[in-house]
């Protein structure tokens, strides 16, 4: 880390009490105008939607330029935030009776950090895509969508209240949906896009319910007011638990946590840069971000925290286990993402706020790197099946090492960023007393190391397993972003280490006790264990796929059943389609039955009765005069007799 940055950290820490006074005027202006950050990509989106067709491939420059602007501004804001306190500005968005719903923005530590992460990754992906998407028909559309997504994501992270968060929360979903379905003519892409939207929507509904309930409890959607209400004890414990869990359901949907994770691997139907941006670095982390942003609420309920931790830990090991056997390069990475997100959830659920956010950051970098690198591989070999690859190390001289860096980082090899953040998580889990979860996480770490290196070895080591021609390294427009990310994947961990200081952690939690401590002290053996399992995993992978001294089906042949269970992702999709989808279809058919026979039948019977009565009546009109007279006279007789018996003399 640069010494200047460190100075800033220190200054900010020491200067907190008088930061507003101390801060230079220009600095505050940066933060005051932070709302402009999301607007750059929005402009890019609008511009490209309207004029993209004419710009063709030049669209890329528009997109890159605007995101660069965002990135620069975000960085400035981040630097400001080191020295200035949280800034929040709001205006009335909608009035309901005496309730005023506001919209605005807030720059606190988490937001500022997220702004940089998002705009940075976005910028890099924009740049990368210039090369990756070359020759695509709908090139401008792609950039437009990227712009839309970036806008939404940036909007999401500077939202000062739940409603606005929800607003952008859905918009990022839209961006994700559009980009997954970018190759709309592919049936798989169509299905995947639909699935992604619907699965996340299920979570969103949870979030919506939770947020509305919270609103009626706290009287506001504002984060700070909600926290104040929680702190003041204005909300009952059960309600806190309930709303927290409901909101967590939203996070589960977005972050691909079990049981709503199935969309995320399928989302790999989208172009690879998209996977890197949305389904690895930013959007999927939104769930984690949300839990982090609402951390004081969760912290107030042990049950809620426990739920988050359990789901997180379970997802971590569950997804990792699936990742062990997948054959598609992007799917392996996708399951790894799910698993890593589970880690973050585990961290948050174990009160490890800093650990969660820290891992979010490092993960963003190394997973983006991995995806971009994978994209580069795919770009080179035009396949995603790792069984068909191999021996690419020699051909892809840049991509290979960068991929290796990413793999090392994610596996938690010491000195790489992933090592530090994962370590923090394990410590947090241990310190919070979640022993079982801790060990699950350790096993998951082992799995991670194993499958990531399995991937690495299958792709890069050995000889090509299929005929590969014209394999060449990607252009520099693609490799450069990867290099940047590679650097970050290594160094990002050093902002918060037990060895050199926990700058990030301390900065994140300053001024806010509800977030816990900047650093949690844990026993030293945890670090050793973590290192050991990851090395073990790497070793095993090397044995099986690198050196091939262990047969690849050594394990699978022994446990064919569990292999196929894993390969088929625990049959979760099949289970859903058997239960939920069939259920919905059944209800629909039942209602259709109701519609046809009851609703329509009712109508038909009424009209039938009326026309039958008409027919009956007209039958009486048989043309016989005497019938007519009879009817008239009998009518008279009836009236008279009734009169005689009721109103008349006989009464």
């Amino acid at each position: 880390m640069a010494p200047a940055l460190k100075d800033l950290f220190i200054r900010s820490q020491s200067g907190t009490p008088c930061s507003r006074v101390c801060s230079k005027k220009g600095i505050v202006i940066m933060m005051e105008n932070a709302w402009i950050i999301p607007l750059f990509p929005l402009l890019s989106f609008l511009f490209l939607i309207l004029f993209g067709k004419r710009l063709k491939e030049a669209s890329a420059y528009i997109g890159i330029l605007f995101t660069l602007a965002s990135l620069v501004y975000s960085l400035l804001v981040l630097f400001d935030r080191f020295s200035a306190p949280t800034y929040k500005a709001e205006g009335v968005w909608l009035t309901i009776g005496d309730v005023q719903l506001t919209a605005g923005f807030e720059v606190n530590q988490l937001n500022a950090l997220m702004l940089v992460i998002v705009s940075l990754v976005s910028f890099l992906v924009h740049t990368y895509s210039k090369g990756y998407m070359q020759g695509e028909d709908r090139f401008p559309v792609f950039y437009a969508y990227l712009g839309l997504f970036t806008f939404a994501m940036l909007g999401l992270v500077i939202s000062p209240n739940l409603l606005q968060t929800y607003f952008f929360w859905e918009l990022v979903g839209l961006g994700s949906f559009l980009l997954i379905g970018f190759y709309f003519y592919k049936e798989e892409a169509k299905a995947a896009a639909k699935k992604a939207f619907i699965m996340t929507r299920i979570g969103d509904v949870g979030l919506l319910i939770g947020m509305i309930l919270l609103f009626w409890q706290a009287g506001s959607f504002e984060y700070d007011e909600i926290f104040a209400a929680v702190e003041a004890g204005a909300i009952s414990g059960t309600m806190i638990t309930l709303t927290a869990i409901l909101i967590f359901v939203g996070a589960v949907g977005k972050s691909g946590q079990f049981p709503l994770h199935t969309w995320l691997p399928d989302a790999m139907e989208g172009p690879t840069p998209v996977s890197a941006l949305i389904h690895a670095a930013t959007m999927v982390a939104a769930g984690v971000y949300l839990v982090a942003a609402l951390f004081p609420l969760f912290a107030a309920s042990e049950t809620a925290l426990m739920t988050v931790a359990v789901i997180g830990a379970f997802t971590a090991i569950f997804a990792a286990s699936i990742g062990l056997v997948q054959k598609d390069i992007k799917r392996v990475l996708a399951y790894s993402t799910v698993s890593q997100l589970g880690y973050m959830m585990l961290a948050l659920g174990s009160a490890g706020y800093v650990a969660g956010v820290f891992h979010l950051m490092t993960h963003a970098f190394f997973k983006a790197l991995l995806f971009l690198a994978a994209g580069s591989v795919i770009h080179a070999v035009h396949t995603q099946n790792i069984e068909h690859m191999g021996g690419l190390w020699k051909k892809l001289r840049v991509t290979g090492p960068l991929f290796l860096i990413g793999t090392l980082a994610i596996s938690g090899v010491p000195l790489f960023s992933g090592f530090f953040s994962k370590d923090e998580i394990l410590i947090a889990a241990w310190a919070h007393g979640n022993t079982v979860l801790f060990w699950l996480a350790v096993i998951a770490a082992f799995f991670t190391a194993f499958y990531m290196f399995r991937l690495f070895f299958l792709v890069f080591a050995g000889e090509a397993r299929t005929d590969m021609k014209n394999v060449h390294e990607s252009p520099s427009v693609m490799t450069l972003p990867m290099v940047v990310l590679g650097v970050l994947a290594v160094v990002a961990g050093y902002v918060n280490t037990p060895w050199f200081g926990t700058f990030l952690g301390d900065w994140l939690v300053e001024d806010n006790h509800a977030l816990g401590h900047g650093h949690i002290e844990g026993p030293a053996w945890i670090m050793i264990v973590a290192t050991a399992v990851s090395l073990l995993g790497i070793f095993l992978a090397w044995l099986m796929y690198g050196k091939r001294s262990l047969s690849r089906d050594w394990l699978t042949s022994r446990m064919p059943l569990s292999y196929s269970v894993l390969y088929n992702k625990y049959y979760i999709d099949e289970f859903y389609s058997m239960t939920v989808v069939t259920g919905a279809k059944f209800i629909s058919s039942f209602l259709r039955f109701l519609e046809v026979f009851l609703v329509e039948g009712l109508v038909k019977s009424v009209t039938g009765i009326i026309s039958a009565l008409g027919r009956l009546g007209s039958k009486f009109h048989n043309g016989q005069i005497q019938t007519y007279g009879t009817v008239a006279f009998v009518g008279l007789a009836i009236l008279v007799v009734i009169y005689a018996f009721t109103g008349g003399y006989l009464k």
Binding site: W169, E170, L174, F184, I198, I202, I209, I587, L591, L598
Partner: protein, 505 residues
């Protein structure tokens, strides 16, 4: 703004078009279409003037008009009793509805370019329909309201029955009988109120019905009030439509020409909600409160019923029809909540669904014009041949499923916000509808736009210029409301206050 008879001119301005049209030869297709389109403009301009004047702070009261019209019985003996005035007026809610009507009418007139035959008759009826719709919202007394309400019935019948698709006459009859019954029930209520209180003016009725010692011609018992409210619910429930009174509406949506469905789904259905809010809540606040739970339940039923049925439809128009039912459930949910959020949500939904349904049906018209089908099966891969249409279709679907940033979200959100306060469990079960909405809409829209192209798109042009205008206007309005809902909520403030005052909230 101080123009005398401003509202009358606004309401009856389309008649000018009818007049001009009647002198045109019936073969002059483009001339007739132009005149038909132009005739919708005065109302649009005037309604916008009214809107902006209102926003600028000029009171809407000065637009009120009153001319004595019918006097039943002997005026010397009865005084003002049993007299019906011709009185028009606006409040925030009706102002918004008028603007919506005027906008949609103009757009539907553009959409009517696809009409293939007898343009003259078509546009005359079309303009007549517009008069009816505008009048409904401007009427200040129940009888006048009813008159305009019925006036909408007749042109719609013909427009469906003559210019619709294969089963048009069936649909037209279905429309007529259901709505006829609905308006019949409505008429009973109106007449009972009129006969018993001697007045039909809405404000006077509100005052008379809610006074402690009402001065009535004949007594009205509590049971009668309840009965009348239920009757109102049925009457407007047919229009809205509320399950199980909806089957006519599905038929109309499928069989009527798209331009008419734009108006039908956009405005005519909304008369039901308008009536419920204006009269149901206004005149029978106490009874409304005791019925609110049932309204909310009906709302959830509507929402889910429509959603699940839309899920299994094979024709896109059917999907949209059931989606309308489902969305009207949101209106009921908001009304059932009976608090500011809910009612405002209901009103927002009224407007929002009007715009969204109009947009979607316009798009249906666009591709129906080119492919003569609206079956989802037959339309796969539309994005290949008509990317712009497909894109707007997707936008429409997103608006419809309540994507934030578009109007549908604001209304849905507020309705649920309201209901969660009063009946959280019911509201929670209603949220299944939100998921189902996404499910069926994506199924349908992606089925049409995405996937392999099922047909040859050679020779198919994407949207033409004139088709852009309505779509852009509608999308623009949808986004405007979604992003800056105050354009709607601010004019509504006073109306809402009045309502809340009535129900004692």
């Amino acid at each position: 703004m101080n123009l005398a008879y401003f509202l009358s001119i606004l309401v009856f301005s389309p008649l000018l078009g009818v007049l001009v049209l009647s002198f045109l030869p019936r073969t002059q297709e483009s001339l007739i279409k132009t005149v038909g389109f132009l005739a919708t403009l005065p109302a649009l301009v005037l309604s916008l003037i009214a809107y902006f004047q209102d926003r600028a702070g000029a009171g809407l009261e000065q637009l009120n008009e009153k001319v004595s019209w019918i006097q039943f019985g002997d005026s010397g003996q009865l005084g003002n009793l049993f007299s019906i005035d011709y009185e028009l007026g606006l409040d925030g809610f009706s102002l918004i509805m008028i603007v919506l009507t005027a906008v949609l009418s103009t757009l539907a007139a553009i959409a009517s370019i696809h009409i293939k035959k007898e343009w003259k008759g078509y546009f005359m009826l079309f303009l007549l329909l517009e008069v009816g719709m505008l009048g409904v919202f401007a009427a200040e007394n129940l009888i006048l309201f009813f008159i305009f309400f019925e006036i909408t019935l007749i042109p719609t019948f013909f427009l469906i029955g003559k210019w619709g698709y294969y089963e048009k006459e069936n649909a037209a009859y279905s429309f007529l009988i259901y709505n006829g019954l609905g308006s019949a029930v409505l008429l009973i209520v109106i007449m009972v109120l009129f006969a018993r209180t001697g007045t039909a003016n809405i404000d006077a009725l509100m005052a008379a019905m809610n006074a402690d010692n009402p001065q009535l011609v004949a007594p009205i018992s509590e049971n009668m009030k309840m009965g009348m409210l239920i009757a109102l619910l049925i009457a407007f429930g047919v229009k809205l439509p509320i399950f199980p009174l909806h089957s006519w509406m599905v038929r109309v949506h499928v069989q009527a020409p798209p331009s008419i469905v734009m108006l039908h789904a956009g405005v005519l259905l909304k008369i039901g909600a308008f009536g419920l809010i204006r009269f149901g809540m206004g005149i029978f606040p106490e009874q409304f409160q005791s019925l609110a739970v049932w309204l909310a339940v009906l709302g959830v039923v509507n929402l889910l019923y429509g959603a699940f049925l839309a899920f299994v439809q094979t024709d896109f128009k059917m999907v949209l029809a059931y989606s309308s039912i489902s969305h009207m459930g949101i209106v009921l949910i908001g009304l059932g909540a009976l608090n500011e959020a809910g009612i405002q949500g209901a009103i927002f939904q009224v407007v929002s669904h009007g715009l969204i349904a109009a947009l979607l049906f316009f798009l249906v018209g666009v591709f129906y014009e080119r492919f003569q089908t609206s079956s989802i099966q037959n339309l796969g891969g539309l994005a290949k041949g008509m990317p712009i249409t497909a894109g707007f279709l997707l936008a429409g679907a997103m608006a419809s499923l309540g994507l934030p940033g578009m109007s549908g979200f604001v209304s849905e959100f507020m309705a649920f916000l309201g209901l969660f306060k009063e009946m959280p469990i019911l509201a929670a079960s209603g949220t299944i509808g939100i998921i189902m909405t996404a499910v069926y809409l994506l199924r349908a829209v992606l089925g049409i736009t995405y996937g392999k192209a099922h047909r040859d798109f050679a020779g198919i042009t994407d949207m033409k210029k004139f088709e852009f205008v309505p779509v852009l206007v509608l999308v623009g309005l949808i986004v405007l409301i979604g992003v800056y809902p105050s354009v709607l909520s601010e004019p509504l403030t006073s109306t809402l206050e009045t309502i809340m005052l009535g129900i004692g909230g």
